[in-house]
Structures are given as C-alpha cells and as structure tokens.
C-alpha cells in the first residue's frame, strides 16, 4: 500500500536505451579509476615501512632559536643524530600541562634531534587510556604512574626495569632519598622514578573555625576516628543551613587505603596470605557505619550533593567556598585549594584507630615516571627522566606540582625560595614520613575493589543497605575480583 518511491511509467523503452549508453560510458570510466586505485594500493603497501619517520622541521620554537639564522635542518643542528620522537604521557589539567610542556621544550632545546609528543588525559580517563594503550601495544615511551599502581602494571610486565640505565650512568639517582626511591621498586626491581611525594591530609578552614569559636586540636597531636566524629558533630551544631562540617570522603581511595592499613596486621593490607580480602567484616562495617552516622546527622552532605561535589573543579568546590569546613585531600593540592579562598587553610593528619591493628595508616603517595617495555627509545626515555628529575631549571618550573621531589639536592634548592603553601606541604609530608610504615604493593584487582567500596557507601547512605550488608558485599566482591586477577 505505502510506496516511498514512486516510479512514473513513461517511455520505458527510451529510458532503457539511454541507461545502457550511460552504463557503458560509466563502466569505461570506472575501469580507469579502478586501475588507478589498484596502482595506489600497491604503492602504499610497498612504501609502508617508510611512513614513520618524523619530519625534521617538526622541532619547537625553543630549539629553532638556538640554531643559527640560516636554519639548517634540525637533524644536523645538534649532535648529528637521527631525528627521533619521544612520546610522554601524564594525567593532566590545563595548568599542569603547561609545566610539562615548558620542561619538554627545555629538553628539546638541549637535544635538538628529539621531538616530544605528549598525551595528557584527565585523571578520570587516564588509567583507562593507559590500560588500552598497553593492551594494543601502542603505549608511550615514558608513562606517569602512581606508586599505588605498580602492582597492577609491573606484574603484567609492561614496564622496563631501570637499573641498567643507572649502571650505564644515563639515569642518576645518587641524590635521591632512599626511601622515596624505593617506592618505585616491585619484586626487587626498580621500575619507576618519583616525580613528587605527597600524602593525604585533613584540610581545615582555620579562619572559619575561629569565627565559630571552636579550637582545633594541636598539630602534633592525634585524635581517634571516634573523637573526630564527635568533633565534627560539635562543629556542625554551629553551622548554618547548607553548610557541612565535613566533605564526603567515602569515595577517596587513599583514605580508604589508609583505613585498610589501620585495620589489618602489619605486612598484610588488602590481601592476606591465603589470597583473600584481609579487612574483617567488623572493620568494614565500622567504615560504612561511621560515614552513615555522620551523613544522617548532616555532618556529611547527602549522597546526591556529595556526588555533585566530586565533579567540581577543586577551586570551585565546596571547601574553598565555605560549604564544607573539613576535607580529606592530597597535600600537593593545597595551592589550588588556597587559590580559591582568602581563608587560612591548615593541615591535620588522618585520625588514628586504636580498635584494630595499627594506630596510623598514613602513607606516602608518589607519582613517578616509568619506561614502557614496548618503547624503542628506552635510553632516550631514561635520559629524559633524568633531565626531568635532576635538572634544577626543570624542577623550578615543576615547583612541587606533584609533591616533594625525590632528589634531596633539588629539595633543598627549591625550598630556599618556596611559597608558603609549598613549605606547608613539605612539613606535612615530613610529619607523615615520621609515622609512615612502608606500604604493600596493591595486588591486581584491588584498584577495582576501592571503587566498589565507594559505591557501597552510597547504598548505605541512601538507606538501601545496612553497613553490615555493605561490608559483606564488599568482602564477596573483593574476593571475586582478586581471584579474577590471579
């Protein structure tokens, strides 16, 4: 009944003749095109190997400035080496990316035959991008990691051990603090060189607290999780509607990790000797219950608002804007948070836990560079890393971006002219280092468990699960995830 194409029946015979003529013409023409196409394909197939060379003029402005006015081709400008491309990746944002770019240009100025190609997805997409790149064999030469991931990636054999470059004198770690260097070790092999060390801190809006007339506990004193909860309740009682004493921390993987370190025996952490999830049902229930209690008392925002908070830029978030007074965040983020407020921010350590194995669970978080096993320029990559961490000019640009640098020489040089917030984070990290016990490498699969814990907090917060049910679900899911990764 319904016809979308309406063919008019006029002079069918004439039309057919016309079509035949056109078809013949078209076929002739098509043969020519097909021949050309086939020829092109043959050429492309033959020339395939030559396609990867980088254009010699793909150099940067800085490098060009160093060469003479006659501007010879870049590959002849420097050391007469073949032009080469080095791919570097990190988790970035617009301001952070500028620092890396600036350092890269310094490196390229010193090594005119090198072109650095960069990729900098945001933190949220970074690990997906890295995993995919490794799976497809297209990973960049130099890849930024966090110490927490070393277990996931080094175990898969995607990183190249670095000792050979140290032995060859390409990579110099003589000035490095041994403890910081060791954060890049997995199974007695060094895989990563730290770019900066930080630790989770409790950010406090001191100015606002003073206005409320509440006195903060002393900097060198510790308080327990229970005392912390009581303190938060006191603060909340003084706050107007719409303000919360504490920003939701249930999704903060590093606070979760610190808690796990408190509730498990030393040397165990996430996975026990039997290959099972180590924290007990009681310990996990207490984690969920505490957040649930604080949420129902209005100390922590409800799950929907808390979720919106996670999607905001730090300086636009609730903490700098006085919607929350306390916040758990990495100490190296102080500069960004401070930029969003006039109020004085101070640090306190993560609350202690006298009920289980360890009073302190604090640990150092290091961000590091590693070299991919698939890289064809491993020596150059090592040279680049050495330049990045040992050159004062580069580190002056980087300026505590990822925390305290690993080299003691650089540390001293930077601290001489450091800003107030940089000195503050350095002092904080040193205070954590004084109570720090070395962390265990996370077993593959644990990364996903942390996401599950954050998700379960929402279920508890919205009343869909009791803390005990959430704890049991986490233990079951974690065991499944750990098994799946073995």
């Amino acid at each position: 009944m319904i016809q979308f194409v309406n063919v008019t029946k006029i002079n069918k015979k004439f039309k057919e003749k016309e079509r035949e003529r056109k078809m013949r013409k078209f076929k002739k023409w098509m043969t020519v095109v097909a021949l050309v196409l086939a020829a092109i394909m043959v050429f492309v197939a033959c020339g395939g190997n030559g396609g990867t060379t980088t254009a010699p003029d793909a150099d940067t402005d800085v490098a060009a400035d160093d060469t003479t006015d006659d501007a010879p081709p870049a590959d002849e400008a420097g050391d007469g080496e073949e032009p080469v491309t080095l791919r570097v990746t990190w988790w970035g944002n617009t301001t952070r990316d500028l620092l890396y770019q600036e350092i890269n240009e310094l490196f390229m100025a010193e090594n005119p035959h090198v072109t650095i190609v960069t990729e900098s997805p945001g933190w949220g997409d970074y690990w997906t991008a890295i995993a995919t790149a490794y799976a497809s064999g297209t990973a960049p030469d130099v890849v930024q990691f966090q110490s927490a991931q070393i277990g996931e990636f080094a175990a898969m054999g995607v990183m190249h051990p670095l000792q050979e470059f140290i032995d060859a004198g390409i990579l110099n770690v003589d000035d490095f603090e041994p403890g910081l260097l060791s954060t890049g070790v997995f199974n007695d092999e060094l895989y990563m060189i730290t770019l900066g060390v930080t630790a989770v801190a409790l950010y406090v809006n001191q100015t606002y607290l003073d206005e409320l007339g509440i006195e903060l506990w002393p900097e060198d004193a510790d308080i327990t999780w229970d005392e912390f909860e009581a303190f938060m309740a006191d603060v909340q009682a003084e706050l107007p509607d719409g303000a919360f004493a504490l920003q939701d921390y249930s999704h903060n993987n590093d606070v979760i990790w610190a808690y796990v370190r408190q509730v498990t025996p030393e040397g165990v952490e996430w996975v026990n000797a039997d290959g099972e999830f180590a924290p007990s049902l009681e310990a996990m229930s207490e984690w969920f219950d505490k957040i649930y209690r604080m949420r129902s008392e209005g100390i922590i925002p409800d799950v929907a608002l808390a979720h919106e908070h996670t999607q905001m830029a730090w300086e636009e978030g609730p903490f700098p804007n006085r919607q929350t007074l306390f916040l758990f965040a990495n100490a190296n983020q102080i500069g960004t948070h401070q930029a969003g407020t006039e109020d004085e921010i101070v640090f306190r350590r993560i609350p202690t836990n006298p009920d289980f194995y360890n009073l302190h669970g604090d640990f150092l978080i290091t961000s590091s560079f590693a070299i991919s096993e698939t890289s064809e320029n491993k020596e150059l990559a090592a040279k680049y890393i050495d330049f990045f961490v040992n050159t004062l000019a580069a580190q002056q640009i980087f300026d505590f971006e990822l925390g305290i640098p690993g080299s003691l020489v650089i540390q001293d040089a930077l601290l001489a002219n450091a800003s107030a917030t940089d000195i503050m984070q350095t002092e904080y990290v040193n205070s954590v280092a004084s109570i720090f016990m070395p962390f265990m490498v996370k077993a593959p699969g644990v990364w996903a468990v942390q996401d599950e814990i954050a998700g379960a907090s929402q279920q508890v917060g919205a009343g869909a699960m009791t803390p005990e049910q959430a704890a049991q679900m986490i233990i079951d899911t974690a065991n499944d995830l750990i098994r799946a990764n073995q």
Partner: protein, 303 residues
C-alpha cells in the same frame, strides 16, 4: 603489453564493483566481523587485556547471575530506561508528525528545527548541557523556584537516585526528530482519497487518524519501535557524561553499556566484558522478536 591491459580491464569490468567495495569490506572485516568473532571467543576466557586469555568455560556467564552485584542494577536500569523512554519518544514523535503534517507557512523551517535535537542528542556537549540544566544550581531549579515550587528546587535531578534516570529519559524523548521525520513521510503516503471518502461519510479528524492513518502506517510504527528499542539498549554517552562516568549515585544511571565499559576498560576484564556484551545482544534480540510477535495482529501489511 596492450593485450595484458585489455585482459585486466575486462577482468576489472566484471569485478569493478568489488574493487570499489574494498574500503567497506576492509572496514567490515577488521572493525566488525573479526572483533565480533574474537569477542565471542573471549567471552569464554579470563582475558585481562594484557595477559594471555585462558579458557574458563561458562564461568563468565555464570558470574553475571551470581557474584556480579552490579549486573542486576545494570539490567534493571536499562530495561526501565528502554520501556519508559521508547514509548514516550514514539508517542511524542507521532503527535508532532501529525501536527507538522498540516500546511503552515514556514513549515520546512519548523521541521528542520525539530530535527536538530536528534542530531545533537547523543553528543557529549548536550550531555554536559543537561548536567548544567538539571543540577542543584541548574536553570531548571531556578525555573521551579520562580513559579513557586520552592520545595522541589533544591533537588539535583541528575544526581538524586530517585530522579536521575528521569532526566535521562527526558533527554531521549527530546530526540524525537528522526522517528518524527519517518512518521511524517509515512503519513504523507496515505492516499487522500481514503481520507476524503471518510470525511464524506462524516468521520471527524480523530476518527480519520485512529481508523485510517494509524492502521495504514502501522508497519512504520513497528519499524520505529524496533529501531528505537535497539538504539535505547545501546545508550552510553549521555549516561556516561551525566553520571560523571561511574554510573551515578547508587547505580541510578548504570546503564548496561557503562557496566560493560567499567568491567572491560576500568577493570580490564575483557573476557567478562565480552560475555556481558553477548548477553546484551541476546537481550536486544529477545525484545526485538517480542516486539514483532506482540504487534503481529495490529500491524497492517498490504498483501
């Protein structure tokens, strides 16, 4: 030499079509068929993206119904989404098609304007816009406040687990353009003689629509229904962007494809993710067949 060219040209004459098809064939083989077959194989392995896959039999398919707590949420959210948004979208596009079937000055422009959301709907930009509009401090709440509905104006329509899926459904219904255009074409094909005869017999416009137009365009309704069911099952971008990538508070936006993405790319468990994907294929197939069976008696085929 000349002879050879002639032979080649004769050969090409016969098979020139295939030469032109090479780009598509390559794409189909490399990007569709091979991945399809491989994913079926991987679904029976513990493939971890970087490690070698090991055969694990039906483990992955069993895991969905036993230890995977998010699987149930993902299926529930997806089915809710499909069965609320698709009928609403079909209804909205049908109603608009009837309205736009009238001859009004400037109609072509209006039609084009209505089609725009369909072009933009699945994009990241619109999803971000949606997040801005329906967030706690979004313009939607400002509107609610200004018309005196203060008690609702503090709600985050995209983060609150009670309403989040609702805003995703609204986003889909808003993309009524492409089914609308197809309906419009179908309505225009209904012979005017039928409608005129009905008018002469005293049928009003409602009766004409219900008794004549709807039965005649029923194959097109079924077509739109099936296409929209399939595309709704595959929703990803909007839910991913609006939820911030994690499926939202309490999995309220954890549509099935986000679950597959989380398992495959965040947890790197490609074997299990492949199994989940094949279950999605099965779900879509079942509901498509159901759509055909259930409408068999109501769809008019011109035979």
């Amino acid at each position: 030499m000349f002879k050879e060219v002639k032979v080649l040209s004769k050969l090409l004459n016969k098979h020139a079509g295939y030469v032109f098809l090479i780009p598509w064939l390559l794409g189909f083989l490399l990007l569709t068929l091979i991945p399809l077959v491989l994913s079926f194989y991987y679904s029976f392995t513990d493939f971890l993206m970087i490690d070698e896959p090991h055969f694990v039999g039906l483990d992955n398919y069993i895991r969905m119904f036993t230890t995977d707590f998010h699987f149930r949420d993902a299926v529930r959210v997806t089915l809710l989404y499909v069965f609320i948004s698709v009928p609403l979208q079909i209804f909205a596009s049908l109603v608009l098609a009837f309205i736009l079937n009238k001859s009004v000055p400037g109609l072509a422009g209006i039609r084009a304007a209505f089609y725009v959301p369909s072009l933009l709907g699945g994009s990241v930009a619109v999803a971000i816009l949606w997040r801005q509009i329906f967030g706690t401090n979004g313009i939607f709440n400002v509107l609610l406040y200004s018309i005196g509905l203060e008690q609702f104006s503090g709600i985050s329509w995209i983060a609150d687990p009670r309403y989040a899926l609702g805003s995703l459904v609204v986003l889909r219904v808003w993309q009524f353009g492409s089914p609308m255009i197809i309906f419009l074409a179908a309505i225009k094909q209904v012979p005017t003689s039928y409608l005129e005869a009905a008018t002469v017999d005293g049928a009003n416009s409602f009766t004409r629509i219900v008794k004549i137009i709807l039965p005649l365009i029923s194959p097109i309704i079924l077509f739109n229904l099936v296409m929209q069911i399939i595309s709704a099952f595959r929703v990803f971008t909007e839910a991913f962007v609006i939820s911030g990538g994690d499926g939202g508070v309490m999995n309220s936006l954890l549509v099935y494809t986000i679950h597959i993405y989380n398992i495959g790319f965040r947890q790197m468990r490609m074997g299990y993710a492949s199994a989940l994907s094949w279950f999605l294929v099965l779900m879509v197939a079942v509901f498509t067949v159901l759509a055909f069976i259930m409408t068999k008696k109501h769809v008019h085929y011109d035979e």
